[in-house]
Symmetry: C2
Subunit: 365 residues, 2 copies
């Protein structure tokens, strides 16, 4: 992306209205879209209805959308629907799979438009598009944050050979008001609110893992889509609220391997309501415990050179999950199998990109 | 460090007036101290006078200081004075060596007090002290930045075993107005000013290098002092303006090895005057070229387990510099020797901490 010249004003951001889908998992009427109307109305929405499929979800008039409930998912994926979680917002990843667009933005239905410190409403999607269209710099830290931003650059001492950056695959946005805390922290600090607007976007360095939250997240489906699997959570599973974390660890090691960038920071959304910490604790407690073994696992994952596509990386990762995490709990054997099912389902629905992938038995799809 | 409780106001920061020295390299009268008087007057200053030693440097009244010119340095260090640069702000590291305090803050004499977005003058030193007294989190990225800051915490998915953090060795502050650009960027963007106040402090992750600027920098001498060597620059050397960069790469790999933290972000100072880009280009051009080999070198440096003190790490690093960078240019052989001389001089002036170090021949000092 060309940098603005010295005296130019910040370049305008393309809308990408035919290249981006907004994916929303929900169990209720989507009144929250009213507030987003000025920003979201040009886009196509993919609504993934969780829970009781007989319930009718109302979508405010004037939005262009498709809606999938559990019956639809079962019908489209057949037995492979087992890889899509039920009664957990992890079901949203079905929307990533059925999209035909290059970019995805996903947002929770309790997230509203935030204001910047000047009082101006933040167009979160526009900032995500900026982040995705602009390179990342994972190999060396720039102390003035995003070097491609208007008014900033690479500082003294930044190697010139690294200044072109790499393509950005993921843009992770943040939250004002209710911070994304785990149940123990929610319980200890019930009144804490995030009021600090940090005016920065930065690349998460290569080799560094981060906690990716699915509340306000955008990504390039073509670059990283098949790795954006939100795992097995919720109904019938021993764990919840680790769907986005799991995806975050997987996409980060794969982006690092493939030379792709992951950004975090702007844009903020306004997170309106804290979920119930007691319910959350029940969902999370195994994750809190398992996580202590998952992080060292992901920190030491090495993907072989032959893994040249996201699908190949992901299938290799599922193998390593089974080999190394299966002994932590049998759940990870199930999860490793679901990771394979996910890739099979992805490739079925996205045949044009599937040729890049090979199944473990060596036969190409 | 205890975190403030839910309802408490931000805890006050200790002054540390008997535990911190301010080191200032200069060639002129220190009128800039007038603006810093409310913040710096309680502290002891170590002024390192560069250039002509017969020149008299005026220090505003009421400051407690000691001043060293080149004659003093030669007298104190004898032949070992060869490791201290002349006619380059790299000479400041002599001040780190003669200090007897636990903490150092170093600032350039063209740096003034900046204002935060509310118009309040920023006490840069107080923020550095906060940064140094509060742990770092190099092993996992926290998306809400410094988790120990008032109003923030570790987000969901942050492993609990990593929440105690590690001791912070270095606090790297930033600059409003004139950004710290290299000569080519200065030439291309002569009018660019940094006006963006990013309200964040963050740990630079383990394994990630960064461009450390010496303009507004604090560190814990006891934890990392012997690695804060600013190299051979200026008079008689083929390179300048890489003194702080060199120190930054060295301290980062040593902090990573020893499990210490490096932070960047707040506080800002107001950098008043851009240096001459044509002069800078002459000083920098070899560095710009060499840097492309230095970064891969520092990215792949491995320090053996036996390196359990900063001195041991630093001597090992000097050995690897000679072995691997000597072939880039003979300058690095001289620099590697100067690194050893620096440690010898440090240990002579700081005998109580010297026992931790061993010289390459195996004899302890």
């Amino acid at each position: 992306m060309a940098k603005p010249s010295v005296s130019a004003s910040p370049s305008s951001t393309p809308l990408l209205k035919d290249e981006l889908d907004i994916v929303i998992p929900t169990i209720r009427n989507l009144d929250f879209l009213e507030m987003w109307r000025p920003f979201f109305q040009p886009y196509h929405l993919i609504i993934v209805q969780d829970g009781d499929p007989s319930k009718v979800i109302k979508v405010p008039e004037g939005f262009d959308y498709e809606l999938y409930n559990r019956n639809d998912i079962n019908k489209i994926l057949g037995p492979k629907a087992s890889c899509i979680s039920f009664k957990d917002s992890a079901c949203r990843c079905f929307g990533y799979m059925v999209s035909k667009k290059k970019y995805i933005y996903t947002i929770d239905d309790d997230c509203f438009v935030a204001k910047d410190p000047t009082g101006k409403e933040i167009n979160a999607l526009e900032q995500h598009i900026k982040n995705l269209l602009c390179p990342s710099t994972p190999f060396f830290f720039n102390t003035l944050y995003d070097p491609y931003r208007y008014g900033a650059d690479f500082v003294r001492g930044y190697p010139f050979s690294l200044r072109e950056g790499v393509p950005t695959a993921v843009s992770h946005g943040l939250w004002l008001n209710i911070p994304d805390y785990d149940a123990p922290t929610q319980l200890v600090k019930p009144l804490e609110r995030n009021t600090r607007y940090v005016d920065a976007v930065m690349t998460i360095p290569k080799g560094t893992l981060f906690p990716m939250c699915g509340m306000n997240l955008a990504f390039d489906r073509e670059l990283i889509g098949p790795a954006m699997y939100f795992g097995l959570m919720g109904d019938g599973q021993p764990i919840g609220r680790y769907d986005d974390m799991w995806a975050g660890w997987c996409i980060k090691v794969i982006c690092d391997h493939l030379g792709l960038g992951v950004k975090t920071g702007l844009p903020y959304i306004w997170h309106s309501k804290a979920s119930n910490p007691f319910v959350n604790l029940k969902k999370e407690y195994k994750g809190i415990y398992w996580q202590e073994e998952l992080i060292p696992f992901f920190q030491s994952v090495a993907l072989p050179k032959e893994c040249t596509s996201v699908q190949k990386c992901y299938l290799e990762l599922s193998k390593q999950v089974k080999a190394k995490l299966g002994k932590v709990d049998d759940y990870f054997n199930k999860l490793a199998d679901a990771m394979i099912t996910w890739i099979e389902a992805w490739d079925e629905l996205n045949p044009s990109t599937a040729t890049a992938a090979k199944l473990p038995n060596g036969s190409s799809k």
